[in-house]
């Protein structure tokens, strides 16, 4: 609705501007009752909700109550102060991607991907690499300009690196779905460190993906880019083409210096 970030701090929008209406649901280790209702109210107030309404209070397990609360959040957010790196790629069509690879690179882009460590959830890496793709967008395997190797689940970092070196790959894709105790970050970081130690970090474009991944996190861990939920194969393909065919992706508007 706003073509440019609004100058004023934003509050949550319920049914009119500035009302700050939000909904939250949570469990407290209490049995339902007057005390529990009051506890839920205070709990909500301490989260910044004014005039909280406890809409639902139900026993959900012995000694545990589930609440739904509505209230006016007093918090606001100043969008002009936000500086988030985003992966921005020109939306390239399949034909444009193929064309750029063949004319500017003149060879196939070799991509190696895996779910690393103990992660056995290949949904993400499969969606990006395998022919089938995701949401109607076919995977890198389906492009003439890409040679995609999907090493699958539970690949150790050293195996992944060794394979990438053996294939003389252009890019390494790491997918991490399991995020318990932040093991996705540890695995990702360990791979980067290993690549640095072996002196091959700059030989590859290294991409990080998963449901709890964003570009910012990926950069922090030392990757070139991060791809979160909803990423389509064409997004990754477009990024790689721009990166490898010598054209840097345009600076996203949000990362341009802003007046402070």
């Amino acid at each position: 609705m706003h073509p440019t970030p609004p100058a004023k701090p934003l509050r949550a929008y319920g049914d009119r501007e500035g009302d700050g209406m939000v909904q939250m649901s949570f469990v407290l280790q209490l049995t339902p009752g007057v005390r529990a209702r009051e506890a839920a109210k205070r709990f909500s107030e301490s989260h910044g909700l004014r005039e909280p309404i406890v809409a639902t209070m139900e026993l959900c397990a012995e000694g545990y109550t589930y609440f739904v609360v509505y209230g006016h959040s007093k918090h606001s957010v100043d969008v002009s102060q936000i500086d988030v790196p985003e992966v921005r790629t020109e939306a390239l069509t399949r034909e444009e991607i193929e064309h750029r690879i063949s004319t500017r690179l003149g060879r196939k882009i070799i991509v190696v991907g895996a779910c690393t460590g103990s992660d056995a959830h290949t949904v993400g890496i499969d969606a990006i690499l395998n022919y089938k793709g995701y949401a109607g967008d076919k995977g890198l395997e389906s492009y003439k300009g890409f040679e995609a190797y999907n090493l699958g689940a539970q690949v150790e970092n050293d195996q992944l690196l060794a394979r990438a070196r053996a294939l003389d790959a252009d890019a390494i894709l790491v997918s991490q779905v399991i995020t318990q105790r932040n093991c996705h970050k540890e695995n990702g970081q360990a791979l980067i460190e290993m690549a640095k130690k072996e002196g091959v970090r700059d030989d590859f474009v290294m991409l990080f993906g998963g449901p709890r991944v964003d570009h910012k996190l990926a950069l922090e861990l030392g990757f070139d880019a991060g791809f979160g939920p909803g990423t389509k194969p064409a997004d990754v393909a477009g990024y790689l083409v721009e990166k490898l065919c010598g054209l840097e992706p345009p600076l996203p508007p949000a990362s341009k210096p802003t007046a402070k």
């Binding site: 469990v27 959900c60 397990a61 290949t122 949904v123 499969d126 399991i178």
Partner: protein, 518 residues
Amino acid sequence: MGTMATVPMDVRTVAACRAIAAEIADDVQRYIDAHTSVGVERTILRAFGVDGVDDQGAPLVNVAVDRYQKAGLLDRGISYWLARALAAGMKDPQEAAERLAYGHEVDRGEGGLSPDQARALLAPHAALAMQRIDTAREAREALRARVKAGPTPHKYVIVATGNIYDDAVQARAAAHAGADIVAVIRATAQSLLDYVPHGATTEGYGGTFATQENFKIIRRATDQASEEYGRYIQQTNYSSGLCMAEIAWMAAVERLDMLLNDAMYGILFRDINMCRTFVDQYVSRRFIARAGIVINTGEDNYLTTADAVEKAHTVLTSQFINEAFALRAGLKEQQMGLGHAYEIDPWLEDSFLMEMAQAQLIRQIFPKHPIKWMPPTKHKTGDIFFAQVHDAMFSLVGITTNQSIELLGMFSEAIQNPLLMDRYLSLKKTRYVYTAAKHLGEEIQWKPDGRVAARATQVLREAHEQLVDVQRTTIWEAIGNGAFADVKRTRTGGKGYAGVVARAKDYVNPILGLLEKT
């Protein structure tokens, strides 16, 4: 239960599918009967009562079996070597196994003890092994006779905290909220471990390690919940991966009710070698059959990688094959929880009708089987409010077509392991749908020339065509060509192939012998 609305089902095509699946399984069974594996032999040692780990955490059964495999002697069966150690004066199988593992030298089999003498010597120990399984089965049946299970579809939820003691708390909470079946999700990497960890565990990524002690702890919790809520709560774990047979035995003696157990899942989704998987699944199912455990097969997973509309028939194909393998391992139809799933893109026109068609078709083709109905996962996005609706539609198909086991959808799928609240809301939603639409299936009829009927006919026809194809190329080749889940595997590729051993002519395995007579 009154008469359900049916879809057209050509009985001759179904019979033809079963006949082809039988031939496919027979071909593999000839291979199975000529081989054993390190996993199988370890299971046999466990069944003889061998237990314990060394100071490095290596189970005694692994050390013993690995030693005889390295020496090239496993082709005669670990039972033979165990018998020789007993004949040499060891007082029981535990002591005999310790001698196999740590004894001064590997027994090369010089002098004495024919295979028949070995079998005779082991007979009382093998009988004890059977008795242990039978006692657990009888205890389960007695409890289930006293505390009855709830009505079907049984509501199946998962717990996955990584800590078995937290799992026990969550399992009781789930039972309180109305769950009938509680599964403890296994730690992610466990399927690829070639040993079973020992003791109670409190750390695990993505789930909790399956160990015999953990089975005991969670069984105790669900038994208490059964008594308290007056409804039998079933306990489930995973007999899959490189230790599928060992887990099956542990589940048998620790009185689990169900096991995820599939003839091909490990090959496709965990890249476990197919020879190894076929051999191991057979022996695991022999124990499962004796123990009266219900298996849950994993065909539903195919639709998480392959397209759920185009490849729907591959699920049915695999169900016929899984059934054929299970029959060859002595399972009754009532023990075969064949799996399928609600994984069609929800935004596709008439996706709900297609789901209904397949669920009803499978119900009719496998009438005695406790069919396992899996919720949407692939098209969950993190929009929890939409996900509740999506899951409700799934439950509506479940109750209308009378699925037996319904794994509840979680609205937080694709975000996190389910929270206490997520599970509660899912159970509440399911209870609503099951109550509100309880007799829907009896009240409606599908138009014989309608969309649902046409879809069911198409899926059965395509499954038949695929079975013909698989048989022509053999299942070994079919898997190599990506027939299931779009995943391709080779006969000697994958993990665990080195653990497969051709049986010698004088192979000794009296426990398997007794299981095969069951």
